[in-house]
């Protein structure tokens, strides 16, 4: 279990600046996830930590000690690759045992058995990786990475090739395993739901930068930027302008919406342009919360456990998540919605970056 610290790391590939001045710390035993759209630099960061790439600037510290000069094999990092990267010419057991060749004092047979047990693949030692299902291969890759008792586990989109159900089950298993082994883990995914489900902390990335680093709750309900708000979860981002600042903030929705009350978070000035983030599931049909909104129903999607309702409220289309057993709704119907000031979050639009 180690603490991993990146300070002002940049990495350029030819013309492309893949990683721009990134700093963060993953504490001992923490599960940190880098999430963002493809090409945002998250995999590059992982490869920098593992030692497969060298940063142009900045430093990488394991427990306060720089590892930049260490080749990958000296860093004692376990890595799980997107396509598993199992050795096709070795059996399952051979794959798991490979890393033990370079560690002394471990009974290989026993350790392999122990790990396969850990990932629920007992008895498959002699199988060929090609004979396994995708989920089983993923487990072998995990067992292989964990076998030499690494101090740090890096996972690069380990579940992206699996179907949705299996993905959910395996992410739970990975999380439990990480807790049990008390190993620091850095996880890369483009799937925001996975990131929220599995992590202690989430770093949301875009074009080589970290937009926000926080707990899953923070990045979901208190996103720092418009990008985070739109990338994580489904959000309604409504344009507005602050009219009054008091115990609560009064925001006039643009272009012709009502004024709504918003929880006071930091110093706001009247006249400031803002984006109001309203999560679809925090809006009720009718209801008694302090903010009211009227709109015309444009369409409904049935999801099974809930409904998506799309409403025209004058400005942008509003998306609302309603219980599946909501009263009959008809297109064109006028609806009254309400939401609490506590569930509103304001984002100050940043000026476009140069």
């Amino acid at each position: 279990m180690i603490q991993v610290q990146l300070t002002e790391i940049s990495k350029r590939f030819g013309e492309i600046l893949a990683v721009k001045d990134i700093s963060f710390t993953a504490e001992e035993g923490e599960f940190l996830t880098l999430v963002g759209p493809s090409g945002c630099g998250k995999t590059t960061i992982l490869r920098l930590i593992a030692g497969f790439e060298r940063p142009d600037t900045g430093d990488i510290l394991f427990d306060g000690r720089s590892v930049l000069k260490d080749p990958p094999e000296a860093r004692r990092v376990g890595m799980v690759f997107q396509n598993y990267a199992l050795f096709p010419h070795m059996s399952v057991g051979g794959n798991v045992a490979y890393g033990l060749r370079f560690r002394r004092g471990i009974d290989r047979g026993e350790r392999v058995h122990e790990l396969l047990q850990l990932v629920d693949l007992e008895g498959l030692e002699r199988r060929d990786p090609a004979e396994l299902s995708a989920g089983q291969r993923q487990r072998v890759a995990l067992a292989r990475a964990l076998a030499p008792e690494p101090k740090l586990l890096l996972l690069d989109e380990p579940l992206s090739a699996l179907d949705a159900k299996l993905r959910e089950r395996l992410r739970l298993e990975i999380r439990r395993l990480q807790r049990r082994l008390k190993i620091t883990a850095i996880y890369v995914t483009h799937d925001q739901e996975e990131a929220l489900a599995i992590s202690d902390h989430v770093a949301v990335m875009s074009t080589g930068r970290i937009e926000q680093l926080g707990t899953p709750w923070e990045v979901y309900y208190r996103p720092a930027t418009e990008f985070v708000a739109s990338f994580i979860g489904h959000g309604n981002l409504l344009a507005g302008v602050i009219t009054e600042v008091g115990d609560k903030v009064k925001v006039k929705l643009l272009p012709e919406g009502p004024e709504v009350l918003v929880r006071m978070e930091r110093d706001y000035r009247p006249g400031q342009e803002v984006r109001l983030l309203l999560r679809p599931e925090r809006i009720q049909l009718n209801g008694s919360s302090e903010n009211k909104l009227h709109g015309q129903l444009r369409g409904v999607e049935f999801l099974g456990d809930a409904l998506w309702a799309y409403l025209d409220c004058g400005g942008d289309e509003l998306r609302v998540k309603l219980p599946a057993l909501s009263p009959e709704l008809e297109e064109g119907q006028e609806l009254e919605l309400s939401f609490s000031s506590q569930d509103c979050h304001l984002i100050i639009p940043s000026s476009p970056r140069g």
């Binding site: 080749p71 890595m79 396509n83 890393g99 370079f102 560690r103």
Partner: protein, 541 residues
């Protein structure tokens, strides 16, 4: 590499333009001034061009047949198109003499059937014979390259042309042919280079009157001892062939793109009730079978038969002859010695080609650097340099002072390795490129050093490519004659040289037996290559 290939070439060039320490253009001038040499150079180009055209004429219809029809053994036949890369040319030459010769099986059969007095076909020892034999060699290359692209051509192109109202001919010339042009051009360029540099076939089938640059270098060097003139000729040839090869590499790089078929093309069974189209196809297949199978079957048949008191009898005499350990005057050495030499040189050349090819393949597949293109070209240059000139170069460099090799036969091994290692590279690079970096990085993450990861992961994973490359190298060494003939003393003679000697002495039984043996071994090599080699030389399946 530099020492083995570029130094000898330099020495050869030096031989051609430096006399007694002074630079001279005398010999180069002679090459261009003498009408005879001008004729030789033009004839070389002429026969190469005609051969390429005939190869296209035969190869293109075959590509069509592969694309359009289904027939038994189609896959086997398709795999056979790689044979020209491994079949020793001298065995083909012997087959052509036996089959198409004035007293050959074909003429004898025709005389029998039509009760003729003289042979109706006089093909050999003329341009016709050379062109025909070259077509035998190069038509499969055309078929292989064009067929691979044709089968992957999306039907939608033709169908949209059809929907727009284009007829059959317009569809072919307006849509299909232009789309096939890249592969056709690449294949034709390759065929042209092979024909331009062909030596054993011209030597054996050209007779005294028809000589190409390649044959002329040999004549000047070995027969007439005009080394400086030979060197000057070699300079001209090397420059020309490097130019062609560079053109080929440009073509290949320019045209290489993957056309993935969205829908597989429908094929029709070939063996059904005759339609005019099918009858034409059948006739074509019959005619080309004559060309392809005739010579090979003749060699096999001839190796087991002997004329005895006006009767043809079956015998193993020729096989016991070629394994004879006693001195044989026609050859100037015991025949068995040549067989052993071939095996020994083959194994040594295989090892050496692997040692040269593997690191280069690794660099090409793994690293991106400035000047990579130039590196590729330099490394692949031996493919485009004539073997006779290479032999002459090695002769000049290593069998004469100041760098005279103590063990002269090493020069032969070196020549074979140089000619073979580009094939090793071509066999390994695609496999290496197909390897993802994941497993190697995974190994390193688990504690393996870079070298350890190569040993544990990459090496086992490319062993198929390595095997194919090794077999290729062995087969090339076994069949190589052009460079060897320049370097070999009697006691270093190899099987192809013995075949050539016996052919020149018109003792065809022994030549056939040894040719059959070579065909068998190289045929075995071909099986290995097709089983394990992936998509070599545009032959994707």
């Amino acid at each position: 590499m530099a020492l083995a290939f570029y130094y000898p070439l330099l020495r050869l060039f030096q031989e051609g333009v430096v006399e007694e320490g002074k630079f001279t253009l005398k010999y180069l001038g002679e090459v261009f001034a003498e009408p005879y040499f001008r004729h030789v150079i033009l004839f070389t180009a002429e026969q190469a061009l005609l051969s390429t055209l005939l190869a296209i004429l035969i190869g293109l219809p075959w590509a069509y047949i592969f694309t359009r029809y289904d027939f038994p053994m189609k896959d086997t036949l398709r795999s056979l198109t790689i044979v020209p890369f491994v079949l020793p040319a001298i065995t083909v030459a012997v087959g052509f003499i036996l089959f198409f010769g004035n007293n050959g099986y074909l003429n004898r059969m025709l005389m029998e059937v039509f009760h003729l007095q003289g042979p109706p076909l006089r093909l050999l020892y003329s341009l016709k014979g050379i062109v025909l034999a070259h077509a035998f060699y190069n038509a499969p290359i055309i078929t292989r390259m064009v067929g691979a692209q044709w089968e992957r051509l999306d039907l939608a192109y033709e169908e949209s042309a059809q929907a727009l109202g284009a007829g059959r001919a317009r569809r072919f010339f307006g849509v299909t042919l232009p789309l096939l042009l890249p592969s056709l051009m690449t294949g034709a360029a390759l065929a042209f280079i092979f024909c331009f540099l062909s030596f054993p076939i011209v030597l054996a089938l050209g007779g005294a009157r028809f000589s190409t640059i390649e044959v002329e270098i040999y004549t000047q060097f070995i027969v007439l001892y005009h080394q400086r003139l030979g060197a000057a000729l070699a300079i001209v040839e090397v420059l020309l062939s490097l130019l062609f090869t560079y053109g080929y590499i440009l073509l290949e790089g320019h045209f290489t793109r993957e056309l993935e078929a969205v829908r597989p093309r429908p094929t029709a069974p070939l063996l059904r009730q005759p339609t005019p189209g099918r009858i034409i196809v059948w006739l074509f297949i019959a005619f080309s079978s004559l060309l392809f199978l005739g010579p090979l079957i003749s060699v096999l048949y001839d190796s087991f038969t002997r004329e005895w008191a006006g009767q043809t009898i079956f015998t193993l005499h020729w096989y016991s002859y070629i394994f004879k350990p006693q001195y044989e005057a026609l050859i100037g050495a015991p025949p068995l010695r040549a067989v052993l030499n071939s095996l020994q040189f083959g194994l040594a050349a295989m090892g050496l080609a692997g040692l040269i090819g593997l690191p280069i393949a690794f660099v090409i597949a793994r690293y991106r650097f400035r000047g990579r293109r130039a590196f590729d070209t330099l490394v692949m240059a031996p493919l485009g340099v004539s073997s006779v000139a290479l032999g002459a170069a090695l002769l000049t460099a290593f069998l004469r002072p100041p760098l005279q090799l103590r063990e002269g036969w090493l020069a032969i091994v070196l020549a074979h390795a140089i000619l073979a290692y580009p094939f090793v590279i071509r066999a390994i690079v695609p496999v290496l490129e197909g390897l993802e970096r994941g497993p190697v990085e995974a190994a390193r993450g688990l504690g393996a050093s870079r070298l350890g990861a190569f040993r544990d992961i990459e090496l086992p994973l490319i062993r198929r490519g390595l095997l194919v490359g090794a077999v290729f190298a062995f087969a090339i060494s076994l069949g190589e004659m052009s460079a060897t003939i320049m370097l070999a003393r009697p006691e270093w003679k190899t099987m192809p040289l013995v075949i050539n000697d016996l052919r020149a002495a018109r003792s065809f039984g022994g030549a056939s037996a040894m040719s059959s043996l070579l065909i068998l071994v190289t045929g075995g090599a071909f099986v290995v290559i097709e089983r394990f080699g992936k998509r070599l030389f545009g032959g994707g399946r």
